[in-house]
Symmetry: C2
């Protein structure tokens, strides 16, 4: 049916920076089909990982101006001569079939820029595959020679934590909050945010943005210093994506933080830690995929989970039962 | 060599509330030996899980008065007629061989009370086994008829997150902070804390404790409401473990929160979610144990991890290589 993928040719085109090759490679890693997975593995293996981008995670709830920010910040970066890739992580897509960044017109100038590559989240993702797809797409963008990879996510579920495990620094975008109005920052975000950007610091909202920024700066000071942070980090800043203000300053802080971490071994250390983390996740995921491909074992897994949720078993016993049938079929 | 464990007899003694049986059962689940593991599994299976305690996580850095608090709070609970078990989680024990709660004299009245059971963290824990041991020890305490299980941890590493995944509510103990002094609350703790208790609200520190409490109440208000929280939760309160003040109020808030969650389905829902989470963790852990027991596969795992950390591979490819040798040996 399908023409087999010429992996060496695809790898060469991708390394030469051809955007169509990159798009095709990402489609390949997004696929749930077993033959596509084998091709994806071969491609990743062929590409290696000798090129590094700065991986920046970006989170913010709808309404904070995330698209406007990415458009403005991305254009600022490409105008500096950098190649910028934007990837989206939508943890809900596995359920809803929805997609963020689906409408590239939200970033119409950036999406047409030859140094930029924007990839919406896939409309359908295999369960457990969102992290894998994003991680592999990042590796593809790096191999294609992008200097900065922005990984956008929405502030729901565990998506920020997941993105934080695959980026070098993490940025949280907020809108100004007035008076008693609560921002509703997702719990846990304080753990992973390196830079908080209070957007819309323009027009009527300017003084509110300054106050909101001060509130969060105060909250950040209540938290314990992390070893991977220089003095004055994590920090809160105001920006106006609409007016383009604060973007150079935000970029300066990002590069200052990345440089400090590189100088102090935290940059490479974090990447190694992340690689180890995802390696073990992958071993687990691939083992579970193998369990689930076996119809007898899949039935056992499901039956044990049901017993567990009904309070008729314990995790240890349920897992041992699953493993016992796995063992029975093999050695 | 060793007398085989009489599982039905041990289960019966434990269910009758014999403290020596409980202590022996916990020693069994702490063991890394394969035959002990088989016995532990049989015991957990025999005990079932029809009894439920209120599982309370308690975290706090050294110096906040954790032992004094547990002693005072535990005595307050046993005087109300409740049976109280205290377990300690020391994530560092896998490395250092150290132990928290090792000195029971820190809680000399509680440790001698017939309705109380205090178990220090094991001095040596298998890697990845800290969570399993604690989870299984909780199950054993519940089967032994304890009404409240306090799970104490120190504010380092991922121990709080782990404990939060096995308790019904999570309490953070803080000391009063003066002026510009920073508390250094571990990032991420705000995500999981249901109740923040500012201890040492007595004598000279009383007004400082009140101010610290107000600071944290303010910080909590900046965070998004969680569905499992009634109005006014999470909350910050002052206590004095030394004078015994605030302990009845803290208990009232804990039971009010637990009752609200029970009434709204969040209590059982959270337990089911936790069971599912640990089930999948256990499947992974047991699969990895099986991988590691096989010397050829263990060597592959280690070699792939080394290549990965040296930047010579990617998580997906490394995991696929491990799984390929696993597959080669089986079907």
């Amino acid at each position: 049916m399908r023409k087999p993928v010429d992996i060496p040719a695809l790898a060469a085109s991708l390394k030469a920076g051809e955007r169509r090759a990159l798009a095709r490679a990402i489609t390949l890693v997004e696929s749930g089909r077993a033959d596509h997975r084998a091709d994806a593995l071969a491609l990743l293996d062929a590409l290696g990982n000798d090129r590094q981008a700065l991986r920046i995670g970006l989170s913010g709830t709808p309404g904070v101006g995330k698209s406007t920010f990415i458009e403005a910040f991305g254009l600022f970066l490409v105008e500096k001569g950098l190649k910028v890739a934007v990837l989206a992580v939508d943890p809900s897509s596995a359920r809803s079939g929805g997609s963020i960044l689906g409408d590239k017109t939200r970033m119409e100038h950036l999406s047409r820029h030859p140094q930029a590559f924007i990839r919406p989240s896939p409309s359908q993702a295999q369960m457990g595959g969102v992290a894998r797809r994003t991680r592999e797409a990042i590796a593809l963008c790096e191999a294609a020679g992008y200097d900065v990879v922005l990984i956008e996510t929405v502030g729901v579920g565990q998506s920020e934590t997941m993105v934080a495990e695959m980026c070098d620094l993490f940025t949280l975008l907020l809108a100004p909050a007035g008076g008693d109005e609560l921002q509703g920052v997702k719990r846990g975000i304080m753990e992973i945010a390196d830079i908080i950007l209070v957007n819309k610091a323009d027009g009527d909202l300017k003084s509110q943005a300054t106050r909101t920024c001060a509130d969060y700066a105060g909250a950040l000071r209540l938290l314990r210093k992390r070893p991977q942070d220089p003095e004055s980090f994590p920090k809160a800043m105001t920006v106006s994506a609409y007016e383009g203000r604060g973007l150079p300053e935000a970029w300066d802080e990002m590069t200052a933080l990345a440089d400090w971490r590189k100088d102090h071994g935290h940059f490479a250390g974090r990447r190694a830690e992340q690689a180890r983390y995802w390696f073990h996740e992958e071993v687990r995921l691939q083992l579970l995929e193998r369990l689930q491909r076996d119809p007898v074992l899949a039935a056992t897994l499901e039956a044990e989970e049901t017993k567990l949720i009904n309070g008729e078993s314990t995790p240890t016993v349920a897992a041992a039962n699953v493993l016992a049938s796995f063992a029975g079929g093999t050695r």
